[in-house]
Symmetry: C2
DNA sequence: GAGTACGAAATCGTATACGAAAACTATTGC
DNA sequence: GCAATAGTTTTCGTATACGATTTCGTACTC
């Protein structure tokens, strides 16, 4: 299924796979920003393959929500519609909550220690103001929590959400220091809950709130600065 | 996105779409049962199109989990691995729970009445022993609840889960009368909760348990008949 | 001068064709 | 009699080609 967020250019052999990884990487790193028109022939030429595998790759990305495809018109990188963002975050809140609750009983002290180390490094990043690394570490943190998640389907949904966010992040993500501090504290609190063997319900609730708080911060920031900027495309 | 479970043969025009709908329908109605080998050329001939759109359709079905695709080997209809069933049900429990909780505040008395009517008809089906119609009504019931779900992503996940189950059902689903009775009662209880405006938490919990109970019944039945298959959750 | 209609260019959708990989089968050697 | 191997067949993967559809620019009319 969908592997992780890391989509390297290294191919599994299949050109279709190659094209998929390449386009996905370009979307996530922002080379193809939201609204960008993905012309099959052009991409095919860039990658040195024919249009057939490229088309397949794009349809796959469409299924994941990273691109929007319109019949007889073409594909564009999915936009930053605030509504979509809200949907994605809400869904993530739910599946991450579930993933955390399911994983919690299986997380041993070693993993907790690792997660805590990552979280402390995140705190460092706040001092040096390194949003890029912070974001990466944030994913690492949750990856540690989820690495033993007993339900791969749920894990897959989490990864999809992350990918989706990643494609938006490059253009719209605003690093809110206040929220970031809070986030690190919430991570620590979550680890404590897991350590003391809190109920699945409590852990799920905490994990959900963690994601919801990020959404709220975004909404607040958006309202502060200006009109939410209905960037439909 | 993924529409509903109903995948008619009526095309949207695109042959790829046509092929997708046709194969999906055949999987769900059991014409292509789990394990069935989907040979591109053969399907293409059956549908009177070339292999390219068929391939696209199959890849799409793969993304939805209905078929399994192996490089340079081919596609087969996804199997009935009890583990997969467990994963799917667990995931459904979570997303249905969320969908119900999110929808609840938006369900008016008219919709409640409709849902209740459907549920009563389900009760009828138990007397006449009509499992097929029962299953259909069961989906109708939940569809009524979800029709105003404010988050389309979550709704999409619910539909995917249903499709997945539908593809398994044809071969493995065992209609357990005892469970069915209980299910109808749970529906009624759920409607009551919504009517009295219970908290989102309570509604979510009830909806989750509703799905989990079905899973448990399946596991119990499976254990009775033969070897179990661990179910952590 | 603005709006509409027509035509050209761009792009998609799908058919066909061929090379490559895997699966199957028959044959040979032990 | 069984196992390994070579050859054949099936099926996939992708390139190329062409028809269909949309879009954009231009000229024409009111």
């Amino acid at each position: 299924m969908t592997e992780t967020v890391t989509a390297a250019g290294t191919s599994t052999g299949s050109k279709s796979e190659q094209a998929y990884a390449a386009v996905k990487a370009r979307i996530i790193d922002g080379t193809y920003s939201p609204g960008y028109r993905l012309v099959l022939a052009k991409i095919a030429e860039d990658l040195g393959v024919s249009v057939v595998p490229v088309r397949e790759a794009i349809r796959r990305l469409e299924a994941e929500g990273l691109v929007k495809f319109e019949r007889n018109v073409g594909a564009t990188v999915s936009g930053i519609d605030p509504t979509e963002y809200l949907y994605t975050m809400q869904t993530l809140s739910i599946v991450e909550g579930a993933a955390t609750a399911l994983s919690a009983p299986l997380i041993d002290s070693v993993a907790i220690a690792r997660a805590r180390a990552v979280n402390e490094e995140m705190r460092e990043c706040l001092h040096h103001f390194d949003p890029v690394r912070f974001t990466q570490l944030n994913q690492d943190f949750h990856s540690v929590l989820f690495e033993h998640c007993p339900n791969p389907h749920i894990l897959d949904l989490v990864h999809r959400g992350w990918n989706r966010l990643a494609s938006l992040r490059s253009s719209t993500f605003r690093f809110v220091p206040g929220r970031a501090h809070q986030s690190v504290d919430e991570h620590e609190a979550l680890l404590r809950l897991i350590e003391i063997g809190a109920s699945a319900d409590d852990i799920e609730k905490a994990a959900r709130l963690h994601r919801s708080a990020t959404l709220d911060a975004y909404l607040a920031a958006a309202t502060d600065h200006q009109t939410p900027q209905t960037a439909q495309q």
